[in-house]
């Protein structure tokens, strides 16, 4: 007869011949367990054995129903001769559990009495017990294993009985159950796999199933090892990041891009802001004195979203104590642990700024008095001194102007390098600015005529003073390096989104290999005879940096001997909403020292 999985009670092999003394049946579905238990009990009763069932009410009812369905008289007859004893698993358990542990004396008293009753007349006894499974399900694994031991102890000193335990396989899902599972198996003299194996009947099927299980076990082991390695790598990487985060000299905030709520802050950040760590977490970005309000924060985050990065220098920060600090802010948006985060790095530039301001003041004060004394002497001696004295005074004044301009340039370079260069951006009519600057430079030169071509009004957004500084630099260079020529031409042109200012001279020109190097800091072009163009490098470095900070470009087109054209492009004024800057110009104290601030 060929049996299918459904027709044959899978636990049938339990009852074949003499059942093992202590059997454990693992199962996936209640149906399978009940089939198995029914077979265990019914075959026992049929042999004239007595059966004790210590189970949950549901399992008892289902078992009895199945027994009745198999042989209507079997159960009734067994009851009649007191060969079927049913107990509630919870109740029975509670009779011998003390402080979460099964107590041997009580267990012995309760169970051995029941077994003695069943064994009346020398009957063999079969026990189906679910108490261990209940303890296991409660998570009291120690008590479950201890109870299995007690059953074994009882067996050693008592009449012979067969004990059938059932454990749902789902109670062992997880690597952590490997050892307890082995301990459970050790407590039993026979272990019956769950239906995925036990339902198979032919030896070949079972061998194939074992092989497949072995393969599955191998691959799971490999997967666990890989996962552990990945977790370890992640842990190392997280530790590394954490160390960088904690030890950074920048203040760092981690912010949620959707809500602008702070999720983490490092120690430098909490010191800078003056809020304790736990007070910062959960706060929106506009509550910590960094941005004036929610609208400004939202706008900054929008810019970050569009450009993927946000950079602000000389941002005003109000600490919890009400102090004003100046910070450089760099924000980046990236993906971490499956969602976007914003990392904001803040660097306190207040002290650097104060240093540069102090240096500026200390260097300029003596130059100011020297220059004033020189000018007073020039005025007083204009009609009295000899020509040579007047010439010397004139030279002194010129050299003092150079010194003052050099000090200004060096301070600018320092600001650029320490990130404290501040812009006061406003709407600027570039045509008007170019026209005025040409007028001013023209007023100070007698050798060249400065011509402006293309008179088109064009509005850009930028720092008027800084743009003027660039124009003055380009115009004075053009005059200085075309001593043989008498004209400098300035052209203004614009396309859809950029404006170009071109300053053309008709001087000696610059060989192509120097076209980039002249924008290096402190670089001076030297011709073959070794003569230099003093002061060229630093001014162009500053000019290019200023233009680039405006989002523009500055470059040179020139040939040796054919004059030079310095071309500078700037983005046209952006749309209206962009004109609403994060920080209003009046909020920025610029390079006025912090200690001078009220």
């Amino acid at each position: 007869m060929t049996l299918t999985r459904r027709e044959r009670a899978p636990g049938a092999h339990v009852s074949e011949g003499h059942p093992s003394e202590h059997v454990v049946q693992f199962y996936e579905t209640d149906d399978f367990l009940l089939d198995s238990v029914t077979e265990f009990v019914s075959s026992g009763l049929a042999r004239g054995d007595a059966c004790i069932v210590i189970a949950t009410p549901a399992h008892r009812a289902a078992l009895e129903q199945r027994l009745a369905a198999g042989d209507a008289d079997l159960l009734a007859a067994a009851r009649a001769r007191d060969a079927y004893i049913a107990r509630d698993a919870h109740e029975t358990l509670s009779t011998f559990m003390v402080d979460g542990e099964p107590a041997w004396e009580r267990f012995f008293a309760v169970i051995s009495n029941t077994i003695a009753r069943a064994a009346t007349g020398g009957r063999r006894v079969r026990v189906f017990g679910e108490m261990v499974a209940l303890l296991w399900a409660e998570g009291n694994h120690t008590a479950a294993i201890r109870l299995e031991e007690l059953w074994n102890d009882l067996h050693d000193r008592h009449v012979r009985f067969s004990l059938f335990c059932g454990y749902p396989m789902r109670s062992f899902e997880g690597e952590a159950y490997e050892a307890p599972f082995a301990a459970i198996c050790q407590q039993h003299s026979q272990v019956i796999p769950d239906e995925s194996y036990s339902a198979l009947t032919s030896p070949d099927e079972r061998l194939a199933a074992i092989s497949m299980l072995q393969q599955k076990a191998r691959s799971l082991e490999a997967e666990i090892a890989e996962r552990k390695a990945a977790e370890e790598r992640l842990r190392i990487s997280e530790n590394r990041y954490r160390r960088l985060f904690e030890a950074s000299t920048d203040g760092i905030l981690i912010v949620d891009p959707d809500t602008a709520v702070i999720s983490d802050a490092n120690p430098v950040m909490t010191n800078l802001l003056g809020y304790p760590h736990e007070q910062l977490l959960g706060q929106p970005l506009w509550h910590i004195g960094l941005f004036p309000d929610r609208a400004a924060t939202v706008e900054a985050l929008q810019e970050l979203q569009e450009k993927q990065a946000l950079h602000r220098e000389m941002l005003q920060l109000r600490t919890k104590g009400g102090q004003i600090r100046y910070v450089e802010l760099v924000c980046n948006r990236f993906r971490a642990n499956g969602h976007d985060v914003i990392q904001c790095n803040l660097r306190d530039t207040t002290d650097r700024n104060a240093f540069i301001s102090m240096a500026s003041h200390e260097l300029k004060t003596p130059v100011t008095s020297l220059k004033s004394f020189t000018q007073i002497l020039q005025r007083r001696l204009r009609h009295r001194a000899d020509p040579q004295t007047l010439l010397f005074l004139d030279r002194m004044a010129t050299q003092l102007d150079k010194l003052a301009s050099l000090i200004g340039d060096l301070l600018d370079v320092s600001k650029m390098q320490t990130g404290v260069l501040a812009f006061r951006e406003t709407d600027v009519d570039l045509y008007e600015l170019v026209r005025e600057t040409i007028e001013n430079v023209q007023a100070a030169t007698t050798t060249h005529r400065l011509l402006l071509e293309e008179e088109t009004p064009v509005r850009i957004y930028g720092d008027r003073d800084r743009l003027e500084q660039v124009l003055i630099n380009l115009l004075t260079n053009a005059i200085k390096y075309s001593p043989q020529a008498d004209t400098v031409i300035v052209r203004l042109s614009s396309d859809h989104d950029h404006v170009e200012v071109a300053v053309q001279d008709f001087g000696i020109g610059i060989a192509e290999q120097y076209h980039e190097r002249i924008f290096d800091r402190f670089y001076q072009v030297t011709d073959r005879r070794g003569s230099t163009y003093p002061g060229l490098g630093i001014g162009l470095y500053i000019a290019r940096t200023l233009i680039e900070r405006h989002g523009g470009r500055l470059w040179l087109e020139s040939h040796k001997g054919a004059g030079s054209i310095f071309r500078c492009t700037l983005p046209l004024a952006r749309r209206e909403s962009d004109a609403l800057q994060l920080i209003q110009p009046s909020d920025i104290l610029s390079d006025v020292p912090a200690e001078a601030a009220p």
């Binding site: 003596p366 008095s369 004394f373 006061r424």
Partner: protein, 123 residues
């Protein structure tokens, strides 16, 4: 000089710059008073002979020129006195004007430019 001896108060804590400013203005025919002390500005110099204008350094030791400007511009008695603020910080002009200064001159300066600004403020 055909100035009608207008009095100019110079508030500057660098003695050499104070001296050059005083010399320049006296050469131009102004009556000059100098101080390096903010307290004096607020008490002595304004009480009896208030100046026609004030040349005020922004960064004084112990006193902030902007604070002096703010106080002068907050008082009815002194609000009308023009203030020319000086600073070695070229971009401090907005700060100076925000504090109430009528005009600003970066240091170092050209004499002619300084005198032109003073004349304009006194006009």
């Amino acid at each position: 000089m055909n100035q009608t001896a207008k009095k100019i108060l110079i508030v500057e804590d660098d003695p050499d710059i104070g001296l050059t400013l005083a010399t320049i203005l006296e050469d131009e025919g102004y009556v000059v008073a100098t101080t390096d002390n903010g307290n004096e500005v607020m008490t002595d110099h304004l009480a009896d002979h208030p100046p026609a204008m004030i040349v005020l350094d922004m960064l004084l030791s112990g006193w902030d020129g902007r604070e002096i400007a703010r106080r002068l511009k907050a008082q009815d008695a002194t609000r009308h006195i023009p203030i020319l603020m000086l600073s070695a910080h070229p971009s401090a002009e907005q700060e100076a004007k925000a504090a109430g200064a009528d005009d600003f001159m970066p240091k170092p300066f050209e004499l002619d430019a300084l005198l032109a600004k003073i004349a304009a403020l006194l006009a």
